[in-house]
Amino acid sequence: MKLTVNGKTRNVRAHPMKRLLDVLREDCGLTGTKEGCGEGECGACTVLIDGVAVDSCIVPVAHAEGCRVITIEGATATKTGKALQNAFVVHGGAQCGICTPGMILAATLLETGASLDEIKVALAGNLCRCTGYPAIFRSVESALKTPRRKSSRAGHL
């Protein structure tokens, strides 16, 4: 099976029903995509297939055949990937980091200036246990140059 992963064409020998997640991690050696639940619930395994976000733990590799797959290792190829990566570091979007690859990839599908509501919808399928989400929203807003909200306050008294 031929698939393009992060711009590179790969010839994968795997059972067509093998999870795309496992093909990426094992056959392609790209361990940046994580498994959090195995049931398409947490989004830690999010990758992009032809520009669309999917949970790779519930996608058969057969469905990625002939497609362009982007994992976190290839995030800089997206329009906003690099800005998001930096913003997650600078604005606290990443704490333990396990949800971060999936979170960033899901966020790459947002447009510049995306509103908080749009951000929440785009990330609705990505669970985080460390941040409680405000810092993730601030990171995405910063990367996408969303105009400042008055409501997000956090600081010294």
Partner: protein, 266 residues
Amino acid sequence: MSLVRPRSLNAALSLMASDPTLMPIAGCTDVYVGLHFGTMAQKRFIDLWRLKELHGISVEKDVVRIGALSTYTEIIESTIVQKRVPMLVAASREVGGAQIQNRGTLGGNVANASPAGDTLPVLAAANARIVLRSKNGTRTVAFDSYYTGYRTSVRQPDELIAAIEIPRVDGTQWWRKVGTRRAQAISKIMIGAVRGRDVRIAFGSVAPTVVLARKTAAVLSAGGSVADAQAALRTEIAPIDDVRSTGEYRARVAANLLAQFWKETA
């Protein structure tokens, strides 16, 4: 485990005619969960994902035709569905999150036949039709007659759901899902309803299959009170206790949703 990958719908139908044990898969959002937990008894699969004939959303003579492999994302973005069946857009928006919406299909939701299938109350309220195809031809089944019991339907092992047809919906459409949280939630209870010359009200997660509450709707159509309709509703649904909720809560919220529907569509 094996996967056959036909290149056309006809090839798929031939394969299914010759081997009715093949289990069709498309978006896999449910199948792979079953495989992961070891609850999937089937081992032989037929891949429908790339069959172009099963994609596409169109309208002809006021009937919306949604290809079985239309994903929730495609439904949400379809101007045809937005205009004509907005309650289906509303239901699709509340399925999982973006990743699930990009892969889950309407046909899959119907075929999976879960009592908690998010689109099923909508299809029931919309008086939809299921278009089934086999090697021998096509037949159309009214959604109301499609399910015969818990996770069972009239679909024969050699048939595929080709499309879902939704005739013109006469009246105001209303939809509400009560989940365990605001996204990535299995519903505790759902209502899809239409208020027009006729009233059609359907509930999900309150019985082994989606329930079209005919008696309840008849009370309201005839000008009865909400209280009387709620009393009728109590006889038409049988919600249970499970890990997510209780029968009592579901019964009460069903009644509340009914009242909210009636009030907001006045």
